[in-house]
């Protein structure tokens, strides 16, 4: 317990070191190139301080509470005793690892929902779309994508199938989806691949990959342990594009229903909806 304040201080200093180059670049350009005083400088500085304090508490809390349990869990679930099969005989198939896939998907989902950078992007998206796109809905769509990605990635490590194959099929699906998607959602969907994997997700998911690759005979942890993060950044692109498509279908279906009930109101509803959307896109 006594070491907790020391840990906090250490993490705070480390976070400061990580943030220092960013602050130097921001203020360097602000004062040397733009040469203007920042509006609300005091507020921005307080904001930076909040970010530092927030990240520090967040990281220390994760180290204290979640990472040890999460990592031990990843090891225990992939350990031969738990799976109950003598792996060294080479007689196992992928179905013996059911709990691993379920854990992979569940933890992928749960850590993504708490990922701070995803929260940031989804808040911005809600603001810009004028509320047409809900931050929570977007985050759940991304989290579902990560869940599928990490679950499938775990299966890939167990089955030993080549990584590029999955990634290429994934790219193919994304390309096809892109051509059927609204222009509004495409950039955001592509972005959501990159924001999912940071502070919370990477350590737990990486532990899972390494645990799996070192348990299964014939897998090299150095080679086969990789790839889970790649899966976790590819599948959200699909799920966000899919989420937007489903949303559009529901909107269209609702509009049709209105026709049946009161055909008179349809024109008004649709045009006001469109107007809202247009305004949402512009403001």
């Amino acid at each position: 317990m006594t070491e907790l304040p020391i840990r906090l201080l250490e993490t705070f200093l480390m976070t400061m070191r990580d943030v220092a180059p960013i602050v130097a670049i921001l203020f360097g350009f602000q004062y040397l190139v733009i040469r203007k005083h920042l509006p609300n400088l005091k507020k921005v500085l307080i904001g930076f301080f909040y970010v530092l304090v927030g990240l520090t508490l967040f990281l220390v809390g994760l180290e204290e509470a979640l990472f040890p349990v999460g990592k031990t869990m990843a090891q225990q679930l992939t350990a031969p005793d738990f799976i109950g099969v003598d792996l060294s005989l080479g007689k196992f198939d992928w179905t013996h690892f059911m709990w691993v896939y379920i854990f992979a998907a569940a933890i992928g989902f749960a850590t993504t929902v708490a990922e701070p950078s995803l929260i940031a992007v989804s808040l911005k998206a809600e603001e810009i779309s004028g509320g047409a796109l809900k931050a929570r809905g977007l985050r759940i769509a991304v989290a579902v994508g990560v869940a599928v990605g990490v679950g499938l990635g775990a299966y890939r490590i167990v089955s030993g199938t080549p990584l590029p194959f999955y990634i290429m099929v994934g790219y193919g699906i994304v390309i096809v989806q892109t051509f059927f998607s609204s222009k509004m959602i495409i950039p955001l969907a592509y972005d959501s691949g990159g924001v999912t994997t940071s502070t919370v997700t990477v350590p737990v998911v990486a532990a899972l990959g390494l645990g799996l690759a070192s348990t299964i005979p014939g897998r090299n942890p150095l080679l086969d342990g990789f790839g889970l993060i790649a899966f976790a950044s590819l599948f959200p692109v699909m799920s966000v594009l899919g989420y937007a498509m489903i949303g559009e279908h529901i909107a269209r279906y609702r509009a049709k229903k209105v026709t049946k009930k009161k055909s008179k109101d349809l024109h008004e509803t649709a045009s006001s909806w469109k107007r809202k959307r247009r305004q949402g896109g512009q403001t």
């Binding site: 904001g47 204290e64 679930l77 590029p164 950039p187 999912t196 994997t197 080679l223």
Partner: protein, 239 residues
């Protein structure tokens, strides 16, 4: 009052992790929690931390990102803006802790595969070079991405061509490095970089006439997670 509401929301965000961990620990593995008090204190920290972070996001990171985007747009100097984009990408990535970890592992892979001598110095050199390569790639990505916003070009042409390049390079690359290269795309964008870069893109799209923030403002992160794959695959072939 507002802080309390934010805290409640942060708790709601963390609830899934708590449920998943508790379910697997108690039901699947059927073990009690070790050091429950430590875990509870840690959770309080995480909730507080997330709350502070989001507060700081709205008062600090988003406003400065957007203010600088507006200032650059008003100044009208393309080279200054592109230089800023490059340094922001390069500077934030070179020091990224997740990347440092991945680069060290990559060096171990290279040493085991006898691509480099299995000595401490050779591995450290290799890891450092890899980090610089990835940081360069993120800097280049932001330059390209900002240029795209200015021009209003559709993003999917860039990303799809990027995918094709990745697929093409994969077939020539040594399989030992493919996993690392693919993962390097996901680890570059950190918790502080993402809000700044997003605010920069959205701010630029706002301040340029005829650009829609939704269509043109987003997408910088997508560039920043694609180029590292390409650069790392190339690096593994040249080195």
């Amino acid at each position: 009052m507002r802080f309390g509401k934010l805290m409640l929301e942060s708790f709601r965000d963390l609830l899934p992790i708590i449920l998943v961990i508790a379910f697997f620990q108690l039901v699947v593995l059927q073990q009690p929690f070790p050091n429950l008090d430590k875990i509870l204190i840690g959770l309080v920290f995480v909730v507080l931390g997330l709350t502070f972070f989001i507060q700081g996001l709205e008062t600090g990171l988003f406003p400065i990102g957007e203010a600088m985007a507006y200032a650059f747009a008003r100044k009208g100097s393309l080279s200054a803006l592109l230089a800023f984009a490059f340094f922001l990408g390069f500077g934030t990535t070179a020091a990224e802790p997740a990347l440092i970890a991945v680069a060290d592992e990559a060096a171990t892979v290279a040493a085991e595969g006898l691509f480099i001598p299995n000595t401490k110095e050779a591995k450290a050199d290799y890891a450092m070079e890899l980090r610089l390569v990835v940081a360069l790639s993120v800097g280049a990505a932001l330059v390209l991405g900002v240029f795209r916003i200015l021009k209003g070009w559709p993003i999917h042409y860039f990303i799809i061509s990027g995918y094709l390049v990745v697929v093409g390079l994969t077939s020539f690359a040594n399989p030992a490095f493919v996993g690392i290269a693919y993962d390097s795309g996901g680890v570059t964008t950190s918790t502080i970089t993402v809000p700044l870069v997003t605010a920069l893109g959205v701010g630029l799209a706002h301040s340029i006439k005829g650009r829609n923030p939704m269509i043109d403002g987003f997408g910088l992160i997508a560039f920043a997670s694609l180029t590292p794959m390409i650069f790392v695959l190339c690096f593994s072939m040249i080195r």
